[in-house]
Symmetry: C2
Subunit: 362 residues, 2 copies
């Protein structure tokens, strides 16, 4: 990869061969959505106008991603400051690069009013500080069902790109990583410029204290959520079906790698695809996490640059807002590597998509 569009933050092992392989596939995007009441703890998540409203975000993100509008409520998917949800950027990229997309509900509070797949055992997650991340039965079933879906829906000709939308997800990712024994404190990302590390740590620690977590499934049930375990199952199934995989996300995807590793799944043919914002984030450290959890996995990132946009809401992405979500980084990585989409085309698509929102009264 010798371009200013896509760069490597961590080589892992065999990066050139892995990049060559995923560049030959036809990209398909799978967005896993779910809610955890952890996001309603004040201060944990800014992915919604209020802590309670963060429960709606995954469903609304899905509606926007697929149709270009929010259907369940009459709202514009941006903050009062005009910062758009990452679904706006992701939609711009999948449209510009003609990337097929499917939403998979693992436990969303709001069922999106667009066609989407469901895991039969879908279950919303609980507040992990109160030790009800997910029932252990649900954790096992979601993994198995998602694995089945991955196995039955992927092929060696695909490049499977997997994204997430789960407010509070970096906190449950921290829980999974810490619960499995990794040094993750202070290293997970957040969707705002102020990363509430101390709050996340105290939430996770009270979860771990109350539950006395042991093995993989107990950890997920104790401090996890429905999305990370489902993505891990799906990735294992898609890998069995022979597809190379791009985990399109930030530090949450390291929790997915930790689950896969604990489940004994091979990590070949997996790369992380994220954003420059995430890689350069001074308040988190995805490279350190990957080195510790799964050093063989390369990290690629897309060098979005929203600094030149004429809209404050988009420029906020340069100030540490959002950084990741709805697969926006990994999608741009594959749009570049597979479809040859240039940065100008990506930025123009984002601008058009955002201006479409403004036109609707944002």
């Amino acid at each position: 990869v010798s371009s200013t569009d896509v760069a490597i933050a961590w080589q892992g092992t065999g990066a050139p061969a892995k990049i060559a392989r995923l560049s030959r596939g036809v990209p398909r995007f799978y967005l896993f959505i779910g809610s955890t009441r952890t996001s309603t703890i004040p201060g944990i998540s800014i992915a919604g106008p209020s802590p309670e409203a963060t429960l709606l975000t995954p469903g609304l993100d899905s509606e926007y991603l697929i149709t270009g509008r929010v259907i369940s409520f009459d709202v514009i998917p941006m903050t009062p400051d005009g910062i758009p949800t990452p679904a706006v950027v992701s939609r711009a990229v999948i449209r510009a690069a003609s990337i097929p997309a499917l939403v998979i509900d693992a436990g969303s509070y709001l069922s999106p009013k667009v066609p989407h797949a469901v895991l039969p055992s879908k279950e919303m997650g609980g507040r992990v500080d109160e030790c009800a991340g997910l029932s252990e039965g649900a954790a096992r079933r979601l993994f198995a069902e998602a694995e089945e879906l991955g196995k039955s829906s992927a092929s060696p000709n695909d490049t499977v790109v997997v994204g997430e939308s789960i407010p509070g997800g970096t906190t449950t990712a921290l829980g999974i990583l810490a619960g499995l024994g990794y040094r993750a404190w202070g290293r997970v990302s957040s969707a705002g410029p102020e990363n509430p590390h101390r709050l996340k740590e105290s939430v996770v620690k009270s979860g771990l204290r109350r539950c006395g977590c042991g093995g993989l499934w107990e950890v997920i049930s104790c401090v996890g959520d429905p999305v990370h375990v489902s993505i891990a199952g799906f990735v294992r199934g898609a890998a069995e079906a022979g597809a190379p995989i791009v985990l399109a996300g930030g530090t949450q995807m390291v929790a997915v790698l930790a689950i896969l590793s604990a489940a004994g799944a091979p990590l070949n043919d997996i790369v992380i695809g994220t954003t420059r914002w995430l890689v350069e984030d001074p308040s988190s450290d995805i490279v350190a996490l990957v080195r510790e959890v799964a050093p063989e996995v390369p990290i690629l990132y897309y060098s979005y640059d929203f600094g030149g946009f004429p809209y404050e809401g988009l420029r906020k992405y340069e100030e540490g807002y959002v950084k990741e979500g709805v697969g926006l980084g990994g999608l741009a990585v594959v749009a570049h590597l597979i479809k040859g989409l240039g940065k100008d085309a990506v930025h123009t698509a984002v601008l058009r998509e955002y201006e479409g929102l403004l036109g609707r009264g944002g």
Copy 2:
């Protein structure tokens, strides 16, 4: 196509180019499921152990297709005589040819306990003799939602194969065709050797009489069902996304063509893929229907031959039982054209799959 495996029943227009194009794509199978209470009219459907039980068949077919077993009930998916559901054959083919599959629920009585996609407006169909095929609003919404799904999930690199599971579906197909003014009486197929044409005609006619149907949406609402309209929407969306399409089914797929035609959708890049059993069925006439409804659409068929199998249940397929369903014909067509799967390999896979069932006490 110069082989004994796949043959052409109707040339349509530009068949060689259409076959060449679909042979270059990567096949993906989409199974649309739904129920209509029309199947509970005694004598209409044999796709279940009793008229009421036919409502369960689409959900159970889906479970079997994806996992190789029925999950919701402790049953073996075959008749007391040992005739297996077509899902058994379809699963054998998708496994032998590594074809990715996704189930889409348009209105199934039973929600399958495997990961699957749902159309948000999914709605079970009513008894069309009592004039409650589907609400007109649901018909329009299902078409639009399925179109969205087709548009967002297909790509020009795919070959989209679409199958159905809806007991009573040939009766609602007859309703749609007759309601739209085509000469369909006595021409649709059935899942048994005795085709109850007179009963189907009387059911459809009492539906049409009670409703005074006019345009497309009124016809579907009057004598249609959730599946055919959803497949039509999906096909239109997938075609917009640039994918060639194989309608994997029998005379029901002509009803899909009739809906597409009435909706003004182009029919280029669509072929029907079915079975020898269906094409040679003396009690129905798919070629005559296609000539009348959409003469440009070629009909390809797979020459399954179950006559040499050592099991009565499988040999029954040669006596007019089943013939079509769960996409078994079109799947074998693409497995041959795209994956080069030979007839021996197909038949061996079917035999293994069936023997797996017997081993479980069938």
